[in-house]
Symmetry: C2
Subunit: 303 residues, 2 copies
């Protein structure tokens, strides 16, 4: 049984009855809503769902349909950039499926959104059909307002659906690895220290691979805000160690961590293995996980 996760982003974070309707629509049979968050300033909501691939595709199609009916990009304003009512739909491999499998599912979902809902669809990341569409920020450049003017241009031809922008805008669909959004607050109110640590640990300035980092000031406290784009390359506990070292060299300490959304079990095991000095710690050594594995293996065939 394959399991995927999907983290669709919707351009509505204020009218919570609209988010409720989308969250209702996404929960078709076999789709489990694991997490939801809405932000007023961003005017955006993020749902986290998981389940078997076919079930999740059906739930996503229903959610995209409701979002297109209830969100009008001609009125929608927020600080977060967006191309459509359902702005972006990443599909993430969890179990029994790989990234290529999720990219194939993204193409199928994109085709259904184009054909059945009549919305323009762009494929990104692992599902991208052109190199210049791999990066989400590039696909979204100029946002909804510029897409209205440019969709007739060859370089903006959608991958599926009509080359025509309605009030619901366009949908960006793709496959990507699990992303861990993880922040570390410092015992400091100096944003320069956070910026300096971020520079020293992020891949783009020669730091840790698969780590994106920014230095921020959040409620008066310095924060290193990170995206770990491949936790199997750089897991979160390795980031904590690196930030602790850099912070110590600048004379400050980590105050606490903050996990945005969810993390995979493998990253949890890796962090515990590090704390317990048990490099080979596996799920089969954790009672509840071992029971789960035994249950999976021991379920008799239906009569």
């Amino acid at each position: 049984m394959a399991i995927i996760e999907a983290v669709p982003n919707f351009s509505e974070g204020r009218r919570l009855e609209v988010v409720d309707a989308i969250a209702q629509a996404i929960q078709t049979p076999g789709v489990y809503l694991l997490h939801r968050t809405s932000d007023w300033d961003h005017n955006r909501s993020v749902l986290t769902v998981a389940g078997e691939p076919e079930a999740v595709l059906e739930g996503l199609l229903q959610a995209v349909k409701v979002a297109a009916q209830r969100i009008d990009l001609r009125q929608q304003r927020g600080v977060h950039p967006r191309l459509g009512a359902t702005d972006v739909v990443p599909l993430i491999p969890m179990e029994g499926i790989d990234l290529a499998g999720c990219a194939a599912l993204a193409r199928r979902l994109g085709q259904r959104i184009g054909d059945e809902l009549g919305l323009p669809v762009y494929l990104y990341e692992a599902a991208a059909t052109r190199p210049e569409r791999r990066n989400l920020a590039d696909v979204r450049a100029g946002e909804y307002e510029r897409l209205v003017e440019e969709i007739h241009l060859p370089q903006r031809q959608p991958d599926f659906g009509p080359a025509l922008v309605g009030p619901a805008g366009a949908v960006i669909v793709g496959g990507r690895p699990f992303l861990i959004a993880f922040n570390l607050f410092l015992k400091s109110s100096d944003i320069q220290i956070a910026k300096q640590i971020a520079r020293s640990i992020r891949q783009s300035s020669g730091g840790l691979p698969a780590v994106k980092a920014l230095g921020l000031l959040v409620d008066g406290q310095a924060q290193v805000s990170m995206n770990l784009v491949d936790f199997q390359i750089t897991p979160p506990h390795a980031v904590v160690e690196a930030v602790a070292r850099e912070a110590a060299s600048l004379g400050v300490e980590i105050d606490r961590g903050e996990l945005i959304g969810l993390m995979p079990q493998a990253a949890l095991l890796a962090a515990a293995a590090s704390a317990l000095r048990l490099p080979s710690l596996g799920a089969e050594q954790v009672v509840e996980m071992a029971i789960g594995q035994a249950l999976d293996a021991g379920v008799p065939d239906p009569l």
Copy 2:
């Protein structure tokens, strides 16, 4: 649905066909064998099983029966003390049941072993009927050989079954909290350092509560060998921190950890939370665990 774990100890670690037969017998429907280990020197095997209480009691009864048929304490020799073929059967609360519930189950199992298999049974720890029987080592004092001579004495009257010792000896049954057997190897071959660290961290000499510790030399390497008898009081990552501190003060380092058997998910989460500086990290923030919770909650009623 309640889940218990049981970790029965059998006085056979050499004739693996006997251990196989016991492991076979214990796996009645609904009993999941999670782990098994046999030791030649100890001449002892430990099985770890889990499942719903009624299923586990039935599996244990069958395993005790096979062990009594196949193990003869008049011949059995090994470095580990023992009172019977099935030496000790601890029942451990995992989910939807507490220690008192496991103690009640231990009394029911003890009664069935006494009545149906005709073996003398002693209740210990949470199930003990007398204060002097709480401690396993006290119940087992003098081992099988002394019990043969003393079972007629009032202070050795079994809790269930006949006051008569056959070749299978007696069975000790009880309820106890989850015990984590966890060792730390040091980068040293000096047993005195291991002993000194063990003294400084164990409860009995004023160290960490709910921690038992010994300093050993294992294959020429110094090891702090520990039983964490209540991981909710002192979790394994706290022990690593304490041993690391003590070791540093003696000029040595931890080499690696070693987990004997299994640990509970709550201890894993606590260790990861410490490494990631996420004090409130919960199972609902781990994708696979959140899916498990959603599946449990979302399973429709049978039609």
